[in-house]
């Protein structure tokens, strides 16, 4: 059980960055964040330091935006990039250990299994690939995602996640299609669709926007949250409400539809709390937000704006602190229950 209180959400720190941070992983039990960014580099920053300063990793790195990073062990990070490569890094030395040409097109996201032994990567070649986190060996690959949209344009495979028990992997694409796979066999076990997250404009602008940007399983692995944005009128902008749909994926049924009435743009990332009571989502348009929703009712418990469009976040072990990375900023949010004030001393009775 966590002791967090989403209604107490407040931003406690905001750190400027020269680049756009797309992905983040946190070194356990610390304020040390490893983040990938638009300068093609992986960086480390200790956000709990008095004056946090990002430090770039060394050596031959990526050749494009770094869009995914996971920690397999407290000292090994793996990053993925639009250059199609996965790079294993020694965090303490901040140097590369291994580089693997993983995908033919842009890697959009990485996920790591709960035991840290398997890494999943998804890319615009529409493949999901599972990798041995220790050796870098390709274990298997699968896809249920068409490379071309129904409107004859290239599709994109944006999102991937493992279930908390590690048995399943879910992948989500541009047109709102989700496939769920058995991790050990690569067998497809279910599909669900969230077509509202994909907007095709056939008349005014004749292209599309949106797609599934975030996937998260509930703690019992029965529910799958699918995040993105709703149907957009003017697809020049991310002007629709941020949107999450929750599926009972084994039954193939959508059980909740969470339309953010306050914030627009994409849900870039979301996570269930360990008790499965709330779901935190974050993302944005030109601004950003952090929102907590009651899983059972779908209602918003509490939400607030973020100082930037958030691309990803990490939570601490107590699930009461959120480390968000995004557009030229890192922000730290806390949602801890208020510590009861010490009981005030009973005033002495006035002298009569």
């Amino acid at each position: 059980m966590t002791t967090s209180d989403p209604t107490k959400l407040k931003m406690t720190k905001e750190i400027g960055l020269p680049s756009i941070a797309f992905c983040v992983a946190r070194v356990p039990n610390s304020g040390r964040l490893i983040f990938g960014s638009s300068d093609f580099k992986l960086h480390e920053i200790d956000v709990l330091a008095e004056k946090p300063q990002p430090v770039a990793f060394n050596g031959e790195g990526h050749q494009s935006y770094v869009t995914g990073v996971v920690l397999c062990t407290p000292n090994i990070a793996v990053s993925g990039s639009y250059d199609g490569k996965l790079i294993w890094w020694d965090i303490e030395k901040r140097e590369p250990i291994r580089t693997v040409s993983a995908h033919e097109l842009w890697i959009r996201r990485l996920a790591v299994s709960p035991d840290g032994k398997t890494i999943a990567s998804v890319a615009d070649d529409m493949q999901c690939k599972l990798w041995n986190a220790e050796t870098g060996e390709l274990l298997r690959q699968f896809s249920d995602h068409k490379p071309i949209t129904p409107h004859d344009f290239p599709s994109m495979l944006f999102a991937v996640t493992f279930s908390p028990d590690g048995k399943f992997v879910a992948t989500g694409d541009k047109i709102g299609h989700v496939a769920i796979w058995e991790t050990n066999s690569g067998t497809k076990v279910a599909t669900v669709d969230a077509p509202t997250l994909y907007t095709w404009d056939p008349r005014q602008r004749r292209h599309s926007i949106g797609g599934i940007r975030s996937l998260a399983f509930s703690p019992d692995s029965k529910l799958l949250a699918v995040g993105g944005t709703g149907q957009i009128g003017n697809i020049d902008h991310l002007e629709a409400s941020a949107r999450t749909e929750i599926f009972d994926w084994q039954a193939g049924q959508r059980v909740k539809e969470i339309v953010n009435e306050k914030f627009k743009g994409l849900v870039e990332h979301h996570v269930f709390d360990p008790a499965g009571q709330w779901l935190v989502s974050s993302g944005g348009d030109n601004g950003g937000f952090v929102a907590f929703h009651n899983v059972e009712t779908g209602k918003t418990l509490h939400q607030d704006k973020a100082p930037m469009h958030v691309h990803q976040f990490a939570l601490n072990e107590a699930y009461d602190t959120l480390f968000a990375v995004g557009h030229h900023k890192i922000a730290v949010f806390e949602f801890k229950p208020e510590t009861p004030k010490p009981a005030e001393a009973t005033p002495a009775p006035a002298a009569s």
């Binding site: 638009s38 005014q204 602008r205 004749r206 292209h207 926007i209 902008h237 030109n286 995004g326």
Partner: protein, 434 residues
Amino acid sequence: MTPGSFFCGSADHGVSRRGFLSAAALGTAGTFAADMTQLDVWRHSAWAEDVKKKDKRVILLWLAGGASQFETWDPKPGRPTGGPFRAIQTASSGVQISELMPKMAARMQTTAIVRSLNTKNGDHGGGSSLMETGRRKDPGIEYPDLGALCAKELGRIDSAVPDYVSLYSSTEGRRKGTSGFLGARYAPMFLSENMVPENVRRLETISDIDHQDRAALRDLLAKRFAQNRTSDVIGSHSNAYQRVRGLMASEKLFDITQETEAMRAKYGPTQFGQQCLIARRLVEAGVPFVKVARAWWDSHGQNFETHRELCADLDHSMSALLDDLKERGLLEHTLVLTFGEFGRTPQINPSLGRDHFAAAWSASLSGCGMHGGACYGKTEPDGHTVAEGEASAGDLFATILAALGIDPLKEYTLGARPIPLSDFGSKPIKEVLA
């Protein structure tokens, strides 16, 4: 209509370019007296040159909304403004373009790039007007756009096909184009809702013979009326009627089912690809200017995803078009252009978009009159400003006209006022001309 000068539109009856041109020359000579706009040519004894000039065609692929130069012709990989995409080597030594355009990279020998446009107007309306006419608006004059200029300079008065066809299917930013002071004769045949022109079919209640008889009667009466009268208006009115049957018959040119399945497949399934195929059919039949608008590139949000979609469409369709024109011997006589109202900002906004930007952007010019593989101008490393070879909209227009064999300094006279074809002070960019 001169026999043999009209391509019926079917693949089986395609007229060769040379056949078309000789027929065109004969047809032009036969009816020249009626062409009030061509009298200057006679006076200057430049008949041979004029015929040569009329060999030229233009297809403008109008990138409506403003395509990003970073994701097309002027990539800046590794720079803070560069975005995620790589630059790839093209078939022209030392010239790299975005990896989103791999097919065009392989065809760069046909294409010149101008990377140094500074057009100073980042507003959709103003920028469009500027890039349509090659000059800023003048309250006293309505200037013709490039299509109308080319229709006048390259078209034939007796043409059985339209002189200026504009296809703009999407609704956003839709602009019809204008013939300005050149008058309605050079206005575009504008297709917005369908890819086949509307209202050009003969009414079913009138037989073809009846239609021809009516035209002959009208012609007889018009000639009697015109006797001993000298008026441009009468000539123009009469000429418009002479063109009717040709325009009616041009419907088939827009019907791509007349092409083989293999040819349609080359252009791909998108509407833009299909419109590029129509453009090829039109220029092959002698239409001097075709504009195909591909909307909408205005990527304030999700610039990279937008360009991944739209560049794939542009790259494939444009490559198919250039290949097809080349295989038919038409590319050396057809200038294929890509530009819109402006480019996009170096800065990447929080929605991962790029905004309007006119201070340093790019255009491409392929085929006719161009030094393929040339790359003119340079932007500074982050693309904020032009570093070398700044070019205006007028310079681009002067270059286009020069490539077509039209003197950019040639003047129209509007009242007593001389109006040069390209803006005052503009110059062709010689480095990209063949």
